[in-house]
């Protein structure tokens, strides 16, 4: 039942697995949804969605699948009462609605009979059928729900509220692909780690046992260093004019990276549009550091993240003296510097704050041939971190 909902969820990008779907079905059969769409919404979500980042997609799927339903909570006693005395319970129909009904060739009496029949069937087939009917009833009669004057039962409208919640899309801000805050960036950067035994001394139990046994029972304590993250990170950030719209985003990335206590070392430099023979330590006073120094001071184990839109004039990347700064001369074109960076730092990635759809640009394409490029979104950042930690060099597209 509701299998369509399962596929709807998958279609919307909620990673629901069969195992989770089966527990959903189990809950359904145990009557845990209490024949209310509201319960189905919250409990279903608890069973099927395991990360608030997908709540919004769940809402989208939910409103598409259940959104058309006009019925409210089906309370079984009321349904039975109403069935005894159908005339009183029937909501008045407008002429158009009658027309509609006739067009669809659904006889109201027939519909009621069918409803009653199914109600009985379900009761016989299932334990705790009372509860089951509502939800079950909803499904076979879901179609009727769309019909004007279909089976509507009064009571507090839980269903509406669930659908309302779904329509409100309150969880939009939890989506991974839309918003990046400092904490999320930190979480992504946390994965950037390589544990090495360089930390505090601690008792090596296994070593102690082995040594003691070898000494014939003379207690011999062995110590070793605890594991510590050995990642050293260099952040190179573009502060060129075209990056202005992304200042906020880059600031967040920067503050996340600098607040992280778990890197062994963290360095950052700035550049304008492209990297030439100098990078800036401090952009405000134009304090320069020769790029050459990076190669001398930092060994190739350093991980490098370059942030920039990679979009510039063709000459800025490919020409001698192509730098946007008029008073700055560069003997080697920017692209050569970028290639050298990549050669020296094999663990390097390029994060681009512009959406991937806009990447089709000569300089972006050229840079993508040098550095693996990722979007500056949470998902992109995660991929980038993965690329930085994987042993093999990223294959470039």
């Amino acid at each position: 039942m509701f299998t369509g909902f399962f596929y709807k969820l998958r279609e919307k990008g909620v990673p629901v697995t069969i195992k989770e779907w089966l527990s959903f079905v189990e809950a359904l059969h145990l009557g845990l949804f209490k024949s209310s769409l509201n319960h189905l919404y919250y409990i279903g979500r608890a069973l099927l969605v395991k990360n608030e980042a997908f709540y919004d997609m769940f809402d989208l799927a939910f409103q598409e699948y259940f959104g058309g339903i006009q019925t409210e909570d089906i309370e079984i006693e009321k349904v039975l009462k109403w069935l005894e005395n159908p005339k009183n319970g029937l909501p008045p129909l407008t002429p158009e609605e009658m027309e509609e009904l006739k067009r669809q060739k659904v006889n109201i009496e027939e519909m009621l009979r069918e409803f009653q029949k199914r109600l009985k069937e379900q009761k016989e087939r299932h334990d705790g059928g009372n509860k089951w009917i509502g939800t079950g009833g909803r499904s076979p009669f879901g179609a009727y729900g769309y019909q004007p004057g279909g089976i509507r039962v009064g009571g507090e409208s839980y269903m509406q509220s669930a659908i309302k919640v779904a329509y409100e899309r309150r969880y939009k801000n939890y989506r991974n692909d839309l918003i990046l805050d400092v904490r999320q960036i930190k979480m992504a950067l946390k994965r950037l780690r390589e544990l090495k035994r360089e930390g505090e001394e601690e008792l090596d139990l296994e070593g102690t046992i082995e040594k003691t046994a070898k000494e014939g029972g003379e207690l011999e304590l062995v110590f070793r260093r605890s594991r510590e993250n050995s990642v050293r990170l260099i952040l190179l950030m573009d502060t060129g004019g075209s990056m202005l719209p992304y200042t906020n985003l880059c600031e967040r990335l920067f503050s996340a990276a600098s607040q992280m206590e778990h890197f062994k070392e963290f360095r950052y430099y700035y550049f304008h549009n492209c990297i030439y023979q100098d990078v800036f330590e401090d952009i405000a006073n134009y304090k320069r550091v020769p790029t050459e120094k990076l190669f001398v001071n930092f060994h190739s184990g350093y991980k490098v993240i370059i942030v920039g839109d990679a979009r510039m004039a063709y000459s800025e990347l490919f020409d001698v003296n192509g730098c946007i700064d008029y008073f700055y001369t560069n003997d080697r074109p920017g692209i050569e510097w970028l290639k050298r960076l990549r050669e020296h730092f094999p663990y390097s990635v390029w994060l681009n704050p512009t959406p991937k759809a806009l990447w089709n640009h000569p300089t972006v394409n050229a840079i993508r041939k040098i550095f693996p490029m990722f979007e500056l979104t949470l998902d992109g950042l995660k991929e980038a971190v993965l690329a930085l930690t994987s042993k093999s060099r990223q294959v470039l597209t």
Partner: protein, 283 residues
């Protein structure tokens, strides 16, 4: 299931959360609770234990916690020491095996509530190491050649602050709920639970200000429920007139814990009103 969770006197749970707790109990699945600090994740387990009158076993997770710590602990060092210096009988290995929190929950004679608090503090692989134990509710102690099996499936509540993401295989087995930050109305209820005899006007003003501060962009640590409660306590002890809260923020230190945030708030107020007077009064 004779008992159904309906919240407890000290804990305000939303209706959907209560239902989800009950579903988790019926299905016998661990309940994973995520949410901002101060949304009452940990308290939920206490509340369930209180409401259902069951014993609560708390397993606090630290960055160094290993999955095995929850199962059992084999005190090799003690045994080594006894073998070398002590006069105790070291041949009985059982004396050096102590059950962890999970083990304790399994061998309990009655069903217990097991809280695995802040699971995200541990290593990324930690939850995966618990998969089988939580599925089967049993584990094996090779040293004793013995299996510890749960007599009664404990009600497992797991909390996470989302510092690390949890592995998919683990998530698949859990029932998940994200506790949203309480709405002002709900917050009022929560405050009243803690301070039953407090003036409503004071609560309202304090809560209004509290949410206003939370809205400010760029705070390093937004004040949470516990900070609000501290603040209200301070306001009460200081005998602050509710009218005053409208104009200024007394005892700001209880709400904002770091210097940058206080400065951020200052700047924000100054930008908003553009006056130096505010700053003076505020400090």
């Amino acid at each position: 299931m004779g008992h159904e969770y309906r919240g407890s006197s000290k804990y305000i749970a939303s209706k959907e959360l209560m239902e989800i707790v009950n579903v988790a109990i019926v299905l016998g699945k661990p309940l994973l609770i995520k949410g901002e600090p101060g949304t009452g994740k940990t308290l939920l387990a206490h509340s369930i234990a209180e409401a259902l009158n069951k014993k609560l076993i708390v397993w606090n997770i630290k960055s160094t916690t290993k999955a095995k710590d929850g199962l059992y602990f084999y005190d090799t060092v003690q045994r080594l020491n006894d073998a070398r210096f002590g006069d105790r009988d070291v041949s009985d290995i059982r004396r050096y095996i102590k059950l962890g929190k999970l083990g304790e929950a399994f061998v309990s004679e009655e069903q217990v509530v097991l809280l695995i608090d802040e699971i995200d503090k541990a290593d990324i692989e930690f939850p995966n190491d618990l998969l089988n134990e939580l599925d089967e509710m049993s584990f094996f102690i090779p040293e004793l050649n013995e299996e510890i099996k749960a007599k009664h499936r404990p009600i497992v509540v797991i909390t996470s602050n989302a510092e690390k993401e949890l592995p998919d295989a683990f998530l698949r087995r859990c029932i998940f709920h994200y506790i949203e930050f309480p709405t002002p109305e709900m917050m009022e209820q929560i405050v009243k639970v803690h301070f039953p005899d407090i003036e409503t006007k004071l609560i309202r003003e304090a809560i209004k200000k509290f949410y206003w501060i939370r809205e400010i962009d760029g705070l390093r640590k937004k004040p949470s429920t516990s900070e609000l409660l501290d603040w209200i306590k301070a306001l009460r002890i200081g005998g602050v007139d509710p009218e005053r809260i409208e104009r200024e923020i007394p005892f700001i230190g209880t709400l904002l814990k770091c210097e940058q945030d206080t400065q951020r708030l200052e700047r924000f107020i100054m930008n908003q009103r553009g006056s130096y007077e505010v700053k003076r009064r505020f400090i």
